[in-house]
């Protein structure tokens, strides 16, 4: 009775075979009714169902996999989200929550029988409390504009994914996003105090609050990083911090990736905690220099190490860090001389993914490894690059071992994507092998779904799926993501 229908993605206009469950034709047949019901709870322009329009919602920043949804809705409040979910729950329609659509793991990839629930219209600041250091926002607000809202009072929100200009807090929570400065400040889960979440049946729940730790089980810890599998977060209470007195990045150029990797490992081992240690190799240095004009040195591997605090603190930390760097014979060692220069140094780093797009199509990976393994893993990636015949650019948060190899390929060349995917899978397996994990901050999404078996035993997956059973018993939220289809097969069929 457990018949799994595998539906080749190609059939849906994608260009490769990513296994997806066959869309529920009975839902597609009921489209008109479902759309009518959605229209009855939302303003007219908040329901998108025309096929020429739904196509813009067929993928996020991972464009290799695409499928237009049945419809997309753009609610403006928690109440409206609740109404939408009630309709979808009653109709048995899968729902794919979407923040700003910047996921590199296909976290917001729709299925043909699903409704995209976008929170892009939910961008309000609801409450700011400087005495108690928190801000409450609607979840569609972009990461950077959270800091923007408290900037005048000299506060900021710490997690800073490179896409922070565009990515939404909703997606940050879904993927437990990190960023360059998370080495010191922690990732989203360390800065999230509470959420308002709507359950699949429309019930609105509050988890956590405006304080550091809630009584009872740490449900908030469960929600953060759950990739839209458990509920739809509509509002978030976030910890804000006072800006440091000063900050200064230093650029360190090395003549090999491995030496740079060793330097990172040594800095961490010495017990120094800079705010950020970022790594870029030659292809990324070139691409970003062209965009940002930051004056990056011409070298094989570049580290951007940033420290912050008072001038004395900065000097003290940098002298120790620079001393370690010198033992690795850097080809360049240069501290930023001004705020403008620092801004350019960071603009380049944060634009690295997009800038690489000037060279070719790329697939951006996101594995995390123990810092001591950096030199080995970087060498292996270099070797595999030669074996596969595909170039790789490396740009990542070296301080916490969160790697982002960018595999370059030509999307218009038949077979290149498949080759790239195989290469990517090998890199991620390597990360697991050396004691790391499949994802640092981008999430599993669709991209790493089938690699979950390389990280987890069937029992591990079973426990994770049992958690989803509690929150989303009908398995309607963000379908076909995170859990390998074979693992979730029984549950999905039972839910139908």
């Amino acid at each position: 009775m457990f018949k799994l229908v595998i539906f080749p993605y190609q059939y849906w206009k994608g260009n490769r075979d990513m296994e997806m469950p066959a869309p529920d034709q009975s839902i597609i047949a009921r489209k008109a009714r479902i759309v009518d019901r959605l229209r009855s709870v939302l303003p007219a322009d908040a329901v998108i169902e025309d096929e020429v329009e739904t196509r813009a919602y067929e993928c996020d920043a991972l464009t290799a996999y695409r499928c237009p949804p049945l419809a997309a809705v753009l609610p403006a409040s928690t109440k409206e989200v609740s109404e939408v979910l009630k309709v979808c729950h009653a109709e048995g329609v899968p729902v794919v929550p979407r923040g700003a659509g910047t996921s590199l793991a296909g976290g917001a990839l729709p299925t043909a029988d699903s409704v995209i629930l976008g929170v892009a219209r939910m961008t309000e600041v609801l409450e700011t409390d400087y005495d108690n250091r928190f801000i409450r926002v609607q979840s569609g607000r972009t990461n950077l504009s959270v800091s923007g809202a408290v900037e005048e009072e000299d506060f900021f929100y710490a997690p800073d994914p490179s896409s922070q200009l565009a990515c939404a807090i909703a997606g940050n929570i879904a993927m437990n996003s990190g960023g360059a400065h998370c080495l010191k400040y922690g990732v989203t889960t360390n800065n999230l105090l509470g959420v308002t979440m709507v359950m699949m049946d429309g019930e609105i729940v509050e988890i956590g609050g405006a304080h550091l730790d809630a009584a009872g089980l740490d449900l908030l810890g469960l929600i953060c990083g759950s990739e839209g599998q458990l509920g739809v977060v509509t509002e978030a209470t976030l910890r804000i911090l006072r800006k440091p007195e000063g900050a200064r990045p230093v650029l360190m150029g090395f003549d090999s990736n491995e030496v740079a990797g060793q330097c990172v490992s040594d800095i961490i081992k010495a017990g120094i905690l800079p705010v950020a240690i970022e790594f870029m190799d030659r292809p990324c240095i070139r691409a970003t220099e062209a965009f940002a004009g930051a004056g990056y040195p011409d070298c094989e591997a570049l580290l951007i190490v940033e420290v912050e605090g008072s001038d004395e603190e900065i000097e003290a930390q940098l002298s120790r860090i620079n001393a370690i760097a010198r033992t690795h014979n850097p080809v360049e060692l240069r501290e930023s001389g001004s705020a403008e220069e620092s801004a350019k140094i960071w603009l380049g780093r944060k634009s690295a993914f997009g800038a690489m797009g000037q060279i070719n199509d790329y697939m951006c990976l996101d594995g995390t490894i123990p810092v001591s393994q950096l030199p080995y893993v970087l060498r292996r990636i270099g070797e595999m690059s030669k074996e596969y015949g595909l170039d790789v650019g490396n740009v990542f948060h070296a301080g916490d071992g969160n790697m982002h190899p960018l595999i370059l390929f030509d999307a218009n060349k038949p077979g290149d994507l498949e080759l790239c995917e195989a290469f990517g899978a090998d890199i991620l397996k390597l990360c697991v092998e050396v004691g790391g994990c499949l994802t640092g901050e981008h999430g599993v999404g669709i991209e790493k779904r089938d690699l979950m078996v390389d990280q987890y035993d069937p029992e591990d997956l079973e426990i994770q799926m049992a958690v989803k059973d509690v929150f989303d018993p009908d398995w309607l939220l963000n379908p076909a993501k995170v859990f390998p289809l074979a693992s979730s097969q029984e549950r999905r069929i039972a839910a139908e």
Binding site: D45, A56, G101, T102, G140, L165, F353, A411
Partner: protein
């Protein structure tokens, strides 16, 4: 991003360019964050990334444009904030221009739309016709509330209360430099600008001649073609652009030109793109020569040793026109010049966002335009400026109509600070500036 153009489609140079642009887009979504319409509407379809996707789909499938796609493309301001933000160097301007031309050729708009666009295209680029229309609008202004169409209402409300008489300075001629000649430049006197405001060209001529430029108003030059270009009306836009190219090339081949000076940044963006627009036409080489020496007035002034002015109490809020900050990537020059002249310069929050003027956008999309205008005026007024300065007539009209703070062109303030008259917009009676000596 992957594309699906056939070899046959790729024969078309327009598609070739579109493919090149689409291939450089990685769909990262950074552009959504700085797109004014996405800020207002919160819909992927009204973001640059969404529009790129719609254009890709329309071109690949050679689809007859449908009303919805047209709506989302029409809603684009062409402010090009997305191009400043894009780390992948996606040339959105050339893509959306191509899409607009495609839509104009293949889509039949509703009758009112067609009439409106036809009328605008036949009036705005022609100063005399525009002047007459403004007079008519002035008479019609009290009846604006009765207008059934929001766009017609917007047009009547946009009409200025004061319509200046024709300035003879805008006639073809040459103005002698006041000091030994450093440069010989052509001034583009424009079309709509000289009907709406004659102070800007007057001040530009005074300032440039004072700083050692011979300023030529070339015979035969007129509208840059931007207004019709952005409507997708290529025949019209190329027609007027070709006249400019011939007029300026005649000057270049005659007494020579060091620069073509443009003080309306919306036009500047287009003139600088002539080389691309005409790349496959007989005028290609001449068009490129023109684009190569086309400069915003602030760029020229940066090379002319503007004297340092005494520090003044006057607080000037500088409004960055999109065509200047995004279209031409000129961000600091106007502020540097104003500071050098002694003004205290402030900038509004979110200065990267468009004021909603965007050529004819405020007439065609009044609702979105008004939201952007209100936002811009609010952020400008929050800085408590004495004066607002901008480098584009469209922005000046848009913002000026919604605030009590006087708004002038950057060059008017620079002219004033270096010995010119007080800008008329800053005087109670709005008196006329003294005449400028004419060389020929």
């Amino acid at each position: 991003m992957q594309t699906h153009f056939t070899d046959e489609q790729m024969q078309d140079p327009g598609i070739q360019r579109a493919n090149e642009i689409l291939r450089s887009c990685v769909h990262c979504g950074f552009c959504t964050a700085t797109c004014p319409t996405y800020q207002v509407l919160g819909d992927e379809l009204d973001s640059p990334r969404g529009r790129i996707y719609q254009i890709k789909d329309m071109l690949e499938n050679e689809r007859v444009p449908d009303p919805k796609t047209v709506l989302h493309i029409d809603r684009c301001l062409s402010c090009l904030a997305c191009m400043t933000t894009c780390p992948s160097g996606v040339h959105y301007m050339h893509l959306v221009d191509h899409a607009r031309e495609y839509i104009e050729g293949k889509y039949k708009r509703p009758l009112t739309d067609r009439l409106l666009r036809w009328t605008l295209a036949r009036i705005l680029p022609y100063p005399t016709r525009f002047r007459l229309a403004l007079l008519g609008a002035k008479i019609g202004r009290p009846f604006a509330l009765l207008m059934p169409d929001a766009r017609l209402k917007a047009m009547l409300e946009m009409a200025p209360k004061h319509i200046p008489p024709v300035s003879r300075n805008d006639d073809p001629q040459s103005f002698a430099p006041e000091v030994p000649r450093k440069k010989r430049v052509a001034l583009m006197t424009g079309c709509a600008q000289k009907a709406l405001n004659t102070d800007i060209n007057d001040a530009t001529i005074r300032l440039l001649t004072r700083l050692g430029c011979e300023v030529v108003v070339a015979e035969g030059a007129g509208c840059c073609g931007a207004l019709t270009h952005h409507m997708g009306k290529t025949q019209e836009s190329h027609g007027t652009a070709a006249k400019n190219i011939r007029a300026w090339c005649a000057e270049m081949d005659g007494d020579g030109l060091d620069a073509i000076v443009i003080n309306t940044s919306g036009c500047g963006t287009t003139v600088k793109d002539y080389g691309f627009m005409f790349r496959n036409e007989a005028l290609a080489e001449d068009a490129k020569r023109v684009s190569d020496i086309a400069m915003d007035v602030s760029e020229v002034l940066m090379t002319l040793d503007l004297p340092e002015g005494e520090s003044k109490e006057t607080v000037v809020a500088y409004h960055a026109a999109c065509s200047l900050q995004h279209g031409q990537q000129i961000k600091t020059y106007p502020k540097d010049l104003l500071k050098r002249a002694g003004y205290s310069v402030v900038e509004p929050a979110d200065s990267h966002l468009c004021c909603g003027s965007a050529g004819t956008y405020n007439l065609m999309q009044p609702e979105i335009s008004k939201k952007l205008k209100d936002r811009k005026v609010r952020t400008l007024e929050a800085k408590n400026p004495d004066i607002i300065a901008a480098g584009n007539i469209g922005c000046m009209m848009q913002i000026g109509g919604a605030t009590e703070v006087p708004i002038v062109h950057t060059v008017e303030l620079l002219d004033w600070a270096t010995g010119g008259p007080q800008p008329p917009a800053l005087t109670a009676e709005g008196k006329r500036a003294p005449e400028i000596p004419i060389l020929r």
